[in-house]
């Protein structure tokens, strides 16, 4: 078995479109999204509420509910030790184990959701290790205690036998990180892992994650609505709006020289602590309801640069503005309408 070439992405998402069957009709949550994650890379996925971040993340582990419809051309490929796993083609629950808690792990915004209330932290960590590794029960427990110590939980040998509700918010988040990393996944999906935490605790958790990424060399899909967190954590970023990727690029490119009107507006709307006298400029208008999806460019109802007759009629495709930096917008120089 040949090792994967260095250029092979760890994960490749192509033309991913996700709809939900609901009483009110089909809702489009993700529309033609493509991105790659290289081994060891941290990709930030940023966007406001309802932009489709969580639905995209859950698709990678096939965790979306029964009313989900994946468009036929959608492809999610995980490259693992020379194998290419076609995630959306996995049929049996057994086959999905590889993307659920094995090679891919996920941490959630609300840590209580990922711990079963009736089991101790230790029982859950051990169970997961038995499922995904060939450790014995004894080895698994020792490893779990070690992981809890690594994330800064004091007296881990005693605390491992406690329940999640006995932990503070910050400790629960650490325990969840310990559990997610214990199987040494190649890809960690972190969905708003620090949003519920105070800034002081968030800073600790981000430091911890940065250290572990460097040590384990795993890739992270880091989901947040906070561009500051992205600036501090990600190598590259994809900005989502209403289920589409508006702009992608290296973090410095996108934050310092945004080219998509939505990214630029979002950065202007942010209060900047270094310049409290700067006026706050909201993005015009409101986010449209998912039942009332705009035609053409989904941002056209709020865009200051919208070109009538073009932006409301056609969908702009991704355009390369600099190496590795892409945006989907008709107002960019050289984009055909």
């Amino acid at each position: 078995m040949a090792p994967p070439l260095p250029e092979t992405p760890l994960l490749s998402v192509q033309d991913l479109s996700i709809r939900f069957r609901t009483d009110e009709g089909l809702i489009t949550a993700v529309d033609n999204v493509s991105f790659d994650i290289a081994p060891g890379e941290v990709l930030g996925l940023v966007g406001e509420s309802g932009s489709g971040k969580s639905v995209t993340a859950k698709a990678l582990m096939r965790l979306n509910p029964g009313n989900t419809v994946y468009a036929p051309e959608s492809r999610i490929v995980l490259h693992d030790e020379g194998r290419a796993i076609d995630v959306l083609a996995l049929k049996r629950a057994r086959d999905m184990m590889v993307v659920r808690g094995g090679r891919v792990s996920m941490i959630f915004q609300e840590p209580m959701a990922s711990f079963a209330p009736a089991l101790t932290i230790g029982q859950q960590m051990v169970e997961q290790l038995l499922l995904h590794t060939d450790m014995t029960k004894r080895q698994a427990r020792t490893h779990a205690i070690d992981m809890l110590a690594r994330v800064g939980i004091s007296d881990p040998a005693a605390r491992i036998d406690q329940y999640a509700f006995e932990f503070s918010g910050g400790m629960r988040q650490r325990a969840m990180i310990a559990m997610a990393l214990s199987t040494r996944p190649r890809l960690l999906i972190a969905d708003e892992p620090t949003t519920a935490l105070d800034v002081t605790i968030q800073a600790q958790v981000l430091d911890l994650m940065r250290g572990l990424v460097a040590e384990y060399g795993m890739a992270i899909l880091f989901i947040t609505h906070d561009l500051g967190v992205i600036a501090q954590m990600a190598d590259r970023v994809a900005v989502m709006y209403l289920g589409r990727v508006a702009e992608t690029g290296a973090v410095r490119q996108v934050i310092r020289t945004p080219v998509h009107p939505y990214t630029a507006d979002l950065l202007n709307a942010l209060p900047n602590v270094n310049d409290p006298d700067a006026p706050l400029t909201p993005v015009a208008g409101d986010i449209p309801s998912p039942l009332d999806r705009p035609t053409g460019c989904v941002f056209h109802t709020r865009c200051p640069r919208m070109i009538p007759g073009t932006c409301d009629a056609a969908v702009p495709s991704a355009h390369v503005v600099a190496p590795g930096h892409m945006a989907a917008c008709f107002a960019l120089a050289g984009v055909p309408a």
Binding site: T200, A231, D265, L266, P271, N272, V273, L280
Partner: protein
């Protein structure tokens, strides 16, 4: 705007809200000191920020001012052009009148709005419950006036709240809170649940309403960057107590308490080159049932000295209008400034 010093709208003098935690077989039950001896002056017409970590007592303090949390000790004095009242001593009639003067804007507009009422009825409800208006016409006029100020039109008033986006719902809750024409409002995490693209809009609206209606706003938030932008005064709360208060510009330019400095430092910077530079605070906020002796911040303070563990720091003015509770504020100030040091590597 006049340049004369603002009179005080609400003043707190040694305010405490303590809760008894269950019962124990032996000895006295432990006490949760949610708010612990707070003295504070909130100037009239100010946009007054209250910041601090989760559990520091911000909501409890706001609720105590609105007579919605039990006061264990201390005094709350409310003054406007018409009345001066001791809030803790209000009788039933006094309380009814007070509720028209001091109001709460709800934290979570989703939970606060009844799904079966039209927007008009939601905004009108406090007027009707408090019997402020005499006729349906008068109510409608009030509702239309405040709705227009909150940029809601007649069409909006006929609809139900589920048809609105987060930003619109927040405008509905603001209109509801302001319908009775209060002079003082507590806005508790009013933009925390909102996306940044609409958060700025609500903050600008609150600023305008303060000017137009002459409001005093106690703005509770854990987001310092938001507070830096909208508030003219800021109080920093830690474990039930105020550790620093001052005019925002001064406090942001030169924090005087190590906790204020740490809170600033923890805000994720938009500059990717700032990675790993921030000064970090270790540990978590202790339980308010077990407040550390001496300086209550000493278990996490990076600059702690022996004296801090036993001696409660005095509350003192270290710069005009800037007060702080730290023994070593003067020596530490240069180490707490947020001005970025030039990068030696650059």
């Amino acid at each position: 705007m006049s340049t004369a010093p603002h009179p005080i709208h609400v003043s707190l003098d040694g305010l405490s809200v303590h809760y008894a935690l269950g019962r124990t077989l032996f000895g006295t039950p432990p006490t949760v000191r949610a708010v612990d001896g707070v003295s504070l002056d909130i100037p009239r017409n100010s946009f007054f920020g209250l910041v601090g970590e989760s559990g520091s007592g911000k909501t409890t303090l706001g609720r105590a001012i609105l007579r919605a949390a039990p006061v264990s000790a201390g005094r709350i004095t409310y003054r406007d052009a018409e009345v001066e009242v001791d809030v803790g001593a209000l009788d039933k009639a006094g309380l009814r009148d007070y509720r028209t003067r001091a109001q709460l804007i709800f934290q979570d507009p989703y939970a606060a709005l009844s799904p079966r009422m039209t927007v008009r009825d939601i905004i009108a409800e406090p007027l009707e419950v408090m019997k402020i208006t005499k006729s349906r016409e008068e109510t409608d006029e009030r509702v239309r006036d405040i709705a227009a100020r909150c940029r809601l039109n007649l069409e909006h008033l006929r609809r139900f709240p589920h048809a609105f986006s987060g930003g619109q719902r927040q405008r509905i809750s603001i209109a509801r809170a302001l319908a009775a024409r209060p002079r003082f409002v507590v806005a508790d995490e009013s933009v925390a649940a909102l996306d940044v693209s609409i958060q700025a809009d609500i903050l600008n609206l609150l600023k305008t309403l303060r000017e137009e209606l002459g409001l005093t706003i106690l703005f509770i938030s854990h987001d310092l960057s938001v507070v830096a932008h909208v508030c003219d005064m800021v109080a920093v709360m830690y474990l039930g107590a105020i550790v620093e208060v001052g005019p925002s510009r001064r406090l942001f330019a030169q924090p005087r308490h190590p906790y204020t400095g740490a809170l600033f430092s923890a805000i994720p910077s938009l500059d990717p080159d700032d990675r790993g530079r921030a000064q970090r605070l270790e540990g978590e906020i202790p339980s308010p049932a077990n407040v550390p002796p001496g300086c209550r911040f000493h278990t996490r303070c990076p600059f702690v000295q022996d004296r801090c563990r036993s001696e409660v720091p005095a509350w003192r003015e270290v710069a005009p209008q800037q007060h702080v509770a730290c023994h070593f504020s003067e020596e530490l100030a240069p180490r707490l400034t947020r001005t970025r040091q030039p990068d030696p590597a650059a």
